[in-house]
Structure formats: structure tokens, C-alpha cells
Symmetry: C2
Subunit: 406 residues, 2 copies
């Protein structure tokens, strides 16, 4: 009895040790028994990736990105082979593949490659032979056969891309939490699990710091309308469905409050206020492979102005190097860094039709005497950069103020 094709993705914590791998194998076989075809995408075991990064850092602090990909891709190769063995042990047929083997072809941007196409014939053939297919997440291969990785959280992308390519009936993202919450429950214990959320809201939440799913994979899911089910590999409870549209009840303003403590702020002082200067700065950053997040420049009443932007802390050294060079070229002043910042954001499609969210947000900050250093808004989110020490207070206050704790 053929029930359809399910793509499942298990994150690192779901396969952190032998016992958990066996647990995943049981879950996979459970679906098989019900008549589903299965493609299972797996991340590296627990902290393997971090351990490999640590190992490389003992050798060099500027590792070649090609060699990093070569190194890190071993993590998933270990977990797929072990999961295949665990499924065999339960008496079911399974076969593991690396990203290269299943033809996940990417561009040459090592450590953050983009998938160009997937030659899924090998998977289709294995499925036809009745096998459970296990695919290494996070990795691909260039047309020159160089191994690439898709960036942090790239296994989600592997799962979504495969679900799209194979026209899967469902794409389940297994993690160590029960789904998406209105905010991080470790900060605000009153946080609630969200039943359904739109791609757009999830996208904002992911890019604003909710670490459950990688933003890029939600973009892809949205683009190809792949419904996602984010759930826990440790329970049978339903998690959070990420879908195209959610019927919003009146009064539901926000989906959640997010926090990102992994960014740093860079300020270039006394930037000459003339056309093309900002372009020059951000062109150089972009060419140097630095992703800039928020940018703030004040209107200037003199000939000079200050320009601030945020970047991931991991890219701060690279960013400072570039910015200091460009700053000298354009005749700007000092470059100041600040690593003690946090970004607090509120997200919700509801705010489109409800003005006043921004005012309430800023008012809440003021009530708690929290200074707002930068502000950025989108259609369905508002973000504030504040000092890191106020981060948790701000999250709790906003979660409460917008009625998410109820």
C-alpha cells in the first residue's frame, strides 16, 4: 500500500549519540511500516561540526574555505552511514548517499554554496528498489567535483530542495524542540508553541534570530510551496506547520518575539556625505563575502555623517579589515566596533493591518529604560538594536505586552 513520499530531516541533536540514532531509525521504520516511501536527510552527530571547526582552528585562523568544506562534510557522511546501519539492524533496506553522490550540484561559493540543480535519479532508483534513502545534509558538490557546504543549518535546505525535486507529499523537520515558539522558552518560560505560521513570518523570525530553521530553506519552501512540519524527534506531538497562509483571527497581532545575540555593530565615523560613498563601502563588503544586516545612516547637516551597520560576529574580523581600508580611501574617520549588542524583534503578519505596533514596542523599551541604538522595519517585523545586557528583559517585556504569554 503506497501512501506517498515523506522527506524527513533530523538535526544534530536528534542523532547526537548511538541511542538517538537508533531512536531515529525506529521512527523512520515506523513510517515505512505505514507504507510511506522515505528520504531521510541527516545532519552531523551532535557537536561534530563544532569539534571539526575547533580542530581546524588549532591549525590556522584563516582556513581555506574549500578545505573547510572538505573537512566539515565528513560529519554528515558519518551520520548517514550509521543511520543506514541502524535501519538495517531493524531489518529494513536502506542506503546512504553523500551530497555529491546524489547530485546536489552547487555553485563554487564554498562554506555558503547555493544549490544549482539536483540530479535525483539515484534517489528515485533506490526508492523504486524499495530502499529507505538516507542523504547527507548540508553538503553538495560543484561541477568540478569539489565538495561544498550550504552554510549553517544547510541540512534544512537539503531537505526542502529534495522535497521539491521529488515532489514529496510532506517535509518534516525534526529538531530537539516541539516546534516554533512565540519566543525562546529558555528566556521566557511563558512562551507558547505556535500551531501554524506563514512562510513570511517564519522567514522573519528565522532571519531575526529564531534558530529552529535556516532562513534560506524557508525561502525555498515558500518559493516552491513545500509545506513544512517542524517537530521534535523525542515526542509524537504535532509541531508547527509552516505554510502559505494562516487565517488570522482578529486581534492576533504578532507571532513572536525574537532575539539575536550573534551580531556586532560597526560604526564608521565622519563619512563624507556625498553620492557613491555608501555604495563603495557596501560593494567592498559584499565582494569580500561579508553579509551586512541592518544599516543606519543619519541625515547629515554637515558635510560628514556617521554610518553604522551590523554583521554576524563570525564575519566581524573580515568586515573590519575591509571597512578600515575603504575608510582610509574615502577619507572617513575612525571605525568603531561594538560586540555587546543584541537585536530584539517583533514579528507578525497582523501588524500590516494594525498600526501602532512600533509605538507600543518603543514605549515598552522606554518603560524599562532601555536605549534603542538602531531601528529597522519590514512589512511584518520591527527590530531594535539594544545593549546586550538588556536583551532578556526586553524580550520578556515585549512578549508580555503583546499578549503572547496568554
Amino acid at each position: 500500500m503506497h501512501k506517498g513520499l515523506v522527506v524527513q530531516k533530523y538535526g544534530g541533536s536528534s542523532v547526537a549519540n548511538v541511542e538517538r540514532i537508533q531512536n531515529v531509525a525506529k521512527r523512520v521504520v515506523g513510517y515505512r511500516k505505514k507504507g510511506y516511501d522515505l528520504v531521510v536527510v541527516v545532519s552531523a552527530l551532535g557537536d561534530t561540526t563544532d569539534e571539526l571547526i575547533e580542530l581546524a582552528s588549532k591549525i590556522t585562523n584563516e582556513p581555506s574555505e574549500r578545505e573547510m568544506d572538505m573537512l566539515l562534510s565528513t560529519g554528515e557522511q558519518i551520520s548517514v552511514s550509521l543511520l543506514a546501519m541502524a535501519i538495517h539492524k531493524l531489518g529494513y533496506e536502506a542506503i546512504s548517499f553523500t551530497g555529491a553522490q546524489v547530485g546536489i550540484i552547487t555553485d563554487k561559493s564554498h562554506t555558503r554554496a547555493r544549490i544549482i540543480k539536483i540530479n535525483a535519479d539515484k534517489i528515485r532508483r533506490a526508492l523504486k528498489e524499495g530502499k529507505i534513502v538516507i542523504v547527507a545534509g548540508f553538503q553538495g558538490v560543484t561541477l568540478d567535483q569539489d565538495i561544498t557546504t550550504l552554510g549553517r543549518g544547510g541540512s534544512d535546505l537539503t531537505a526542502v530542495a529534495l522535497a521539491k525535486e521529488l515532489k514529496a507529499d510532506e517535509c518534516e523537520i525534526y529538531t530537539d524542540v516541539e516546534g516554533i515558539y512565540t519566543t525562546d522558552p529558555r528566556i521566557e518560560p511563558k512562551a507558547k508553541k505556535i500551531q501554524k505560521i506563514t512562510y513570511d513570518e517564519m522567514l522573519e523570525m528565522a532571519s531575526l534570530g529564531a534558530q529552529v530553521m535556516q532562513a534560506r530553506s524557508i525561502e525555498v519552501a515558500k518559493k516552491f510551496d513545500v509545506p513544512l512540519h517542524v517537530r521534535s524527534s523525542f515526542s509524537d506531538n504535532n509541531g508547527t506547520m509552516i505554510i502559505k497562509e494562516v487565517k488570522v483571527m482578529e486581534g492576533v497581532l504578532l507571532s513572536g518575539v525574537t532575539l539575536n545575540r550573534h551580531e556586532a555593530k560597526v560604526t564608521i565615523c565622519d563619512v563624507p556625505d556625498k553620492p557613491g560613498v555608501a555604495a563603495k563601502i557596501f560593494k567592498n563588503l559584499s565582494e569580500g563575502g561579508v553579509s551586512v544586516d541592518m544599516i543606519v545612516q543619519n541625515v547629515s547637516h554637515t558635510r560628514k555623517t556617521d554610518l553604522s551597520f551590523t554583521v554576524a560576529k563570525t564575519e566581524l574580523v573580515k568586515a573590519l579589515k575591509i571597512v578600515k581600508r575603504v575608510s582610509r580611501n574615502i577619507g572617513a574617520g575612525e571605525v568603531i566596533e561594538d560586540q555587546d549588542i543584541a537585536r530584539v524583534s517583533v514579528v507578525g503578519v497582523g501588524m500590516k493591518s494594525h498600526p501602532g505596533v512600533a509605538a507600543t514596542m518603543f514605549g515598552t523599551m522606554a518603560e524599562h529604560k532601555i536605549n534603542i541604538e538602531m531601528i529597522s522595519t519590514s512589512d511584518i517585523s520591527i527590530s531594535c538594536i539594544i545593549q546586550k545586557k538588556f536583551a532578556e528583559v526586553a524580550v520578556k517585556a515585549l512578549h508580555n505586552k503583546f499578549g503572547l504569554s496568554k
Copy 2:
């Protein structure tokens, strides 16, 4: 100044930790500075392979061989990327490749694959670009892109095969000992380093228990006349040259004494003494993938005889299963195993022209009251199976008797 191409192979102990990897990088760069092109074959870090095997054994005691290869091949992938980074750190260009990437094409015999051909274009291109090429040892890939491994010690084979394919001027095998010794120095401290040894002698010594190099790789080196230099990665001393012919001085009878404690003896009792029976037994073992080593069958004066053979301990379970089944079919009796045996051998091309080596060997055993359970001879070696507890006494006695301690 182009000096020629050197293929170097570094074993697991030479790259057991970050410090040792950096040491290897320095050595490689040292050759580069002298003007050599370099292809460097690397094994997995220290005990990585054993740790991965241990991990798999926690999941299943009969892992799929395809999945084992998938798992184990990650070990070398980690070491090649780290070595490339360490060389970059010293300011030199290097690029790492997996077995699959450099086109080491093998047959489909997972865990003990044979190299069919090498498409070394990628290596040639990288060398032409002035890069030091780092290749993952021990692994290859089938025409279907399934990852294979070449069996224990397979990195030696990778090095020798690449040296042949690339017409290298030298092939250096780096290990944690200074070369080949007349016997294991841990057993007999008077053991001496051998300056030069022939392929044939080395082959006997390797297959008889000297674990410095894998036998198959010496066969390949012999076949294509690739001179090998076995030496230590921890010193600059010359090691042992393995070459076609060594001018033997008068009186030099033996090259060394070897010991193998990794075999078990299987005896099939009361085998019907008629044509085709032995063939049936060993055909079944061979089809089951069991490599049999020594075989002894006594002339029988009745209609039944006992037949003994030895196998690697790792294959004992498989061998017993097959032998017990066949034994029932052919109407033989009980099957007895003995794991407490050792094989002691003397090796030397000199014995071809000097009769009496066997007599001296057996006499030495008798002097020490050691019972010989099986005997096997070749052109340049004589082996005895004895009880394991006498192994070290036998090695020391033979090493002394044949004048190797001088």
C-alpha cells in the same frame, strides 16, 4: 629548479594530532623548498579508524560493508583537509582530494576493493599549477560512485599506485618506526634496522606479520618496480630501501624473523579422504570471502584425515560458520578452533643457496621445548605455528641463532 616528483605517504601515527600534522607539513614544505613536486598520501588521524569501527559496532555487529566504507573513508578526508590547511599556514599552495575526486577507480569489493585504474588528470593539473597535492589514502570509488576502501594498510597501496601512475622518482612511506627491522624491537631489543631489502623478502615479512607495510602494496611496487623508502616521520635518518635486488654478502642468510599473533587455527576432524573434498571446503571459504593462510593435511592411512588451516582472527566467525556447514555436507566430523596460536617465520633470499635453515629452525624450537603444530615453507621463508605463549621466546631464540643480533 625542478628536481622531480616525490610521492610521500604518512601513516596514522604520523598525523595523530595537530602538532604532528604541523610536523608533516614542515617536512613536506622542506621538500618543496628543495624543488620537488609532491603528492602526499595521508591516512586517518591516529586511532580515528578504530574509533569509527567501535561506533558502528555499537549499532550492529554485522554492518553493511558498503556503509562501513562510507563511514571509514571520512577518516582520511579529515586528515587531508587539515594537512592542506597546515601547509597553507606555512605559506605554500596545497589542495586536498578524496579518493573519489582523484579518480581512484576500484572494483565493487567493499572493505577490500582493488584498484582498477587511476584517472590522475586532476593531480597532474594541480601539480602543473604549482600546488602540493594531498590525497586521501585507503579509499577509492566504483564506477557507480560508491565509496570503497582498500583494506587495512590501504594507504600504502594508494601511494604506490599513484607513484606508478605518475611515474614518480621516489615513493616514501613514512611511519612511526625508523624502517624495517630484523625482528620486532619490542620483542627483541637487539633487532637491527635493515638498510636494503628485496621486494620478495619484504613481501614475505609483511605477509608473515611485519606490520610496517601492507603486503599488497609491496606486490604492486614489485610489479611496477617502484622503489620504496620506508622511514620515520619523526627523524631525518634514512630508513629501509625496498628494491628489486640486493647484493647479498656471503653468509647473510636471513633478513628477519617475523611474528604473527593475529591468526587462529581451524581443524576439521575426520574428513573423508577422497578427491574433491578439500577443494569443496576451500571453494566455499573463498566464495564466503574468507582468506585462508596456511593449510596442512596429513597423509592418511585410513579413509579419514584431519585438515587444519589458519585464518585471520577477524575472519574466524565467518570461517567457522562456513566450515561447519560444509563439514556436515561432506560427512566430516567435529570442527575445532584454536585462537592461542602464533606464527613464527624466518625470511631471507639467502636461504635459497644455503640448505639447512629449516633444520636449524626446527632444532632451535626443540632446544626450547617448543612444539611445532604446523609447518609451511616458501622459496625464501619457513613458518611454524606454535602455541602463543612461546611466541616471544621463539622469536628471540631464532634471531640470536641466525646471527641477526650482531
